[in-house]
């Protein structure tokens, strides 16, 4: 495997990235992580960055994610909202699972919201759908279907003009 190099290459697989749970709320614009490279109380956030940050990055492409290293005595995350509010989350001495659980509760979208969004996305993405807001506005644009009669005349056997004409009836 050419890409199975480096530390824990599973972190770079598509399945792993897709299985990330943390999808930040729409109003969050910046997600800044402060931590140190040494210290037992920073161990949890370091592990979180190692294991979960790739997933967070993958799932939140519109959010700016910043790592600020070795500038703080205790680790914390600051979330900046689009209306200027912010939320400071203290993570001193917490392990990576506790951190993830808390973030899911506080800044992540709930499971129900995600489900609804997935359904909405599916509706739009499905190429079999046509009509308003879809890729194709009319069934006639799909190859193999009967085109609109305003653009292409229907075959004769479908037309009343032919079917009920005196000649045909006779």
């Amino acid at each position: 495997m050419p890409f199975m190099i480096g530390k824990e290459p599973v972190r770079r697989t598509l399945n792993y990235l897709k299985s990330g749970k943390l999808v930040l709320k729409n109003s969050i614009q910046i997600f800044a992580i402060n931590f140190n490279s040494v210290g037992q109380n920073h161990k949890g956030i370091r592990d979180f960055i190692f294991w979960h940050l790739p997933q967070v990055l993958f799932k939140n492409r519109q959010v700016q994610i910043v790592e600020i290293k070795n500038k703080t005595p205790t680790p914390f995350i600051t979330c900046f909202y689009e209306d200027g509010k912010k939320m400071l989350i203290d993570l001193d001495g917490k392990n990576k699972d506790e951190i993830l659980d808390h973030l899911l509760k506080v800044v992540g979208k709930s499971a129900e919201t995600l489900k609804l969004e997935a359904i909405a996305r599916e509706k739009k993405d499905n190429p079999a759908n046509f009509g308003f807001g879809c890729e194709k506005s009319c069934i006639c644009e799909i190859p193999g279907q009967v085109p609109c009669p305003a653009i292409v005349p229907l075959p004769l056997h479908m037309r009343g003009k032919f079917k009920f004409s005196k000649e045909t009836l006779e």
Partner: protein, 226 residues
């Protein structure tokens, strides 16, 4: 008719932005809308259809039913639309978001508070440990310094004992004479049997050394004490 159809199929519809392969031009089929009524049809008066009274009433009734149903359906759709618009009201959404933020903020505050308490305990413990460590280090350093001082004292003491034997301006002549009188020869040789051949001294009876034996003994004692 067939000829027209063939002609139709030869034209595509790129000019109306239709990329479907089925799209065809109807330009040659119909009369353009801006043209007036054909000369031969200008004075044509269409006859009103003669429908029997009974049939007319039936058709009218059917149309009335149709219009009523359509109207009610349209109104229903309008109601549904309005209801869905209420849900997507910006103000309401904003309010919901605000409420959600406050709820999450309160949760987070609680979490932060808990962590702050835990940190306070941890920091106090660390402070205590640090103070203890400093105390231990201080004791260790003091004992080390004391030992060093004692060693230095011993060296000074020994030096003080030796001081009388130093060669100074006053006894330099005597020292030179003594050195000349007691020549020391370091030349010696070894044969394969392991026998040393030492050159015989020039002066077989050298004078007594300058260093007093008693002083040497004293110095040995000091070193042993250390």
């Amino acid at each position: 008719m067939q000829a027209i159809r063939l002609q139709l199929q030869t034209h595509n519809c790129n000019f109306v932005n239709l990329t479907s392969i089925y799209a065809q031009s109807i330009r040659w089929k119909r009369k353009p809308i801006w043209l007036p009524t054909a000369k031969t049809k200008v004075f044509r008066v269409t006859q009103r259809p003669k429908i029997p009274e009974e049939e007319f009433l039936k058709i009218k009734n059917l149309y009335n039913v149709y219009r009523t149903s359509m109207k009610s359906i349209r109104l229903l759709f309008l109601q549904i639309g309005e209801a869905s618009q209420v849900q997507e009201d910006k103000g309401l959404k904003q309010k919901e978001m605000e409420e959600d933020y406050h709820r999450c903020f309160a949760l987070n505050e609680e979490w932060n508070k808990k962590i702050a308490e835990e940190r306070e305990v941890r920091l106090q413990q660390e402070r205590k440990q640090k103070l203890e460590r400093i105390k231990n280090t201080k004791v260790k350093v003091a004992s080390k310094l004391k030992k060093l001082e004692e060693e230095a004292d011993a060296i000074v003491k020994g030096a003080k004992l030796l001081a009388p034997t130093f060669i100074t301006r006053d006894n330099i002549d005597e020292a030179i004479e003594a050195a000349l009188a007691n020549k020391v020869n370091y030349n010696k040789a070894l044969n394969p049997d392991g026998t040393w051949f030492i050159e015989k001294p020039v002066n077989p009876n050298p004078s007594a050394p300058i260093v007093d034996a008693s002083i040497k003994d004293e110095q040995k004692k000091i070193k042993l004490n250390l």
